[in-house]
Amino acid sequence: MTLIRPRQKITQADWAAYMQKRAAVSHEPSLKRFFTTPPPSLDTPIAEVPMVALDMETTGLDERRHAIVSIGLVPFTLGRIKLAERRYWVVKPPRPLDEKSITFHHITHSEIANAPDLEAITDTLLDAIAGRIVVVHFRHIERPFLDAAIKARRGEGVMFPVIDTMSLEARIYRQKLWARFRRWLGRPPVSIRLDASRRRYGLPSYQGHHALVDALATAELFQAQIATHYEPSTPLGALWS
């Protein structure tokens, strides 16, 4: 996590207006379709919000230098995570992987070499997340990588609201008075990584780093966070960013 640079502020104050504006100016049919299917409004109770957990495996942490290798997603609601509707793709980065040293979990280099370019799945991917709130653990990967990748291929990027389970975890465990007291005592901060966060809710530990398994893990974590710290009636606006 040492490579994280300060980024432009991408949180939109008014997602509905933003999506509407993009829909009006977009020339790309799939993107137009994406922006004309906006996610629920910010006052919708979270129990009624259709969501999709998204996770990617990338060659690095910088979307300008690195590329997507795999994408996993699972549509879900507060009540149910629907494994039957899961999607998982391995995609070939535009430049060949010169660094053979990079190892991916569950993916072989030949699998990557034989995979399609992201272009081939872009439409399906956008349709799968359209109208849903994307839920990720650590929002500075999936959204910027997807934005950059689609901008490179279609000339226009994508931007959409996300719920970040890591930010929620930080809000709960790092910004409370108790957390500040711990810091004052010199105790290390509570870990907010995916697996550590899940353990706090009694969730089983998974063999991590597979994009789909991590997407599933993220969806479960979000259900647990809501069940523990929020209400089914909590408005979406209180959770997204």
Partner: protein, 636 residues
Amino acid sequence: MDVELLEVRQHMGQFPPFDRLPDALLDEIASRIEVSYFKTGSDILTLNETMTDLCYIRSGAVEVYRRQGELYNRLGEGDIFGHFSLLRDQKVHFPARAIEDTLIYFIPGDVFKQLCDDDDDFADFVELERPRLETAAEQQKKSNDMMVTRIRKLVTRYPVMVEETTTVQKAAEQVSLAQASAVLVLKEGSTHPRFSFQDSEGHTWQVCGILTDSDFRTRVVAEGLSPQTPVGEVVSPRLISVQSDASIYEAMLTMLRNNVHHLPVLYRQRPMGVVHLSDIIRYETHSGLYLVSNIFNQSSVEGLARLAPDVRAAFVRMVQEGANSHMVGSALSTIGRSFTRRLLELAEESLGPPPVPYCFMVNGSMARNEQSIVTDQDNALILSDDFVPDEHDAYFKALATFVSDGLDACGYTYCKGDVMATNTQWRQPLSVWKSYFTDWIANPTPERLLHSSIFFDLDSLYGEDVFVEALQDLIAEQAPQSPLFLAAMARNALNRTPPLGFFRTFVMEKDGKHNNSINLKRRGTAPMVDLIRVHALACGSKAQNTFQRLDAIADTQLLASGVSDKLSYAFEFMCMSRLRHQVIDLEEERVPDNNIEPENVADSERHTLKDAFQVLSNAQKFLKFRYPVPAHRAGR
């Protein structure tokens, strides 16, 4: 296979019933599940809501309740619930709540249905108690059929039979002609009802004995008798026989016990054939069983006591070779009886012949032929009514003491309740015993019967069998007529109840409390024996063995159809669990006991045991309802 589903299917693949599913089916399930998280205390299923999915606990813990809110089960990782309602009408009958933070995998109803259709093991697992218990019990039964196959199967032809007036030469000729090796000797009329029968023309005959090849040699030729001697004069007056429905195993033990090689097989009193030891050995040889003949070769208590390790070894081998509880129980009882019988023979050798006839009676598990390796001695003496205490009791006291001490030395510890012939109270003439039983039946209170119920399992071991038969007749006649007695026995049968099941490494009680181990005798097999005894007494059965009692009960309308089968499967399974855990104890060089520790209980055994506990629990509820305290004594 989708590698991304590995997480899901690997987990499910560890737990029954999924552990037996083929990979392709597991993948299909994993790809269709839906996941949901439940905070501690939140409802997973609420009563009467529509349900469409089977629930699988991925992590956490869940409590399932009955309609009235009574705890039904506590479940943990890898357990399933909701199948009962799903099979019935897709409405929640047993609400469920998370008692820890819990992650549930929902398996859609159509996948569940397909699994039930495609996979018999899976269907057996989810279709409630009976089938699972049945399969488990049946699987145990198949293994060693020498103990369940009836001796009549080895009878291939009618016996050679001659009248007692026939000459030995003629008899020998008939034996040779038939290529047999023994002949049964009959006489007309009846002096001994046990061996009397009528032929097709209405003549009454009595089997007075058997003459074998070796008898012709030792009793006729070696004695220099004339070939014209009537067989009635040389035949042995002592007839050892076996009923046609006895198991091959029992027949073999009878031979070994009495040191005979030929055994007439009787259907009721009618001879239907003769089996020879070689017939049985041809059928199957089983070295462990020769232990019994070894017992009879011992001439001292010390010698007998040295055989105790052999008993344990035979026990372990039998359980490991897959004998069912009936086989193990009757084998161990036979061994126990042989020890006792041999001790009685030794006692009579040193004390001289008894001054008056007597019967050595056994009670409890030995009478039921259900002994395990952990057992104490329960016995009594029934003396002839000619008994005069001042003259004769010294003899019988010495006899009882010799046997009781000997049994203790052989590993059959003294009875804690003092149900032993050494106790004057239990060393009495037949008339006194009759008055004991009449009094227990006529004036019962649960308190009085608590200590005497052991006498309602009774069998003769040695001596005058008719004494015990007289008591069995008395019980069979009086017990069904006494609702008060049955009610008192029923109340005592409810004193010990089964636990709810297992949860992780604990035993779950009905009130939700946990224990580290469970005494499977006290909490399972013994209450079951008590319960079945009450029904057997009510229907006037003279059977002592629990399975035979169940057969007798099944012939009446006492229980709803199928219930006695259920009880039988549940009993068999609990007995086997207990035996298996005793084997574990012996293998780990611990003193075997009746406790089982949940960590030694395999997953499938847990589920089946829980079903068995449930069957017992239901049967206890019915018992209370079936034998109420009669109104004129209870209320006013």
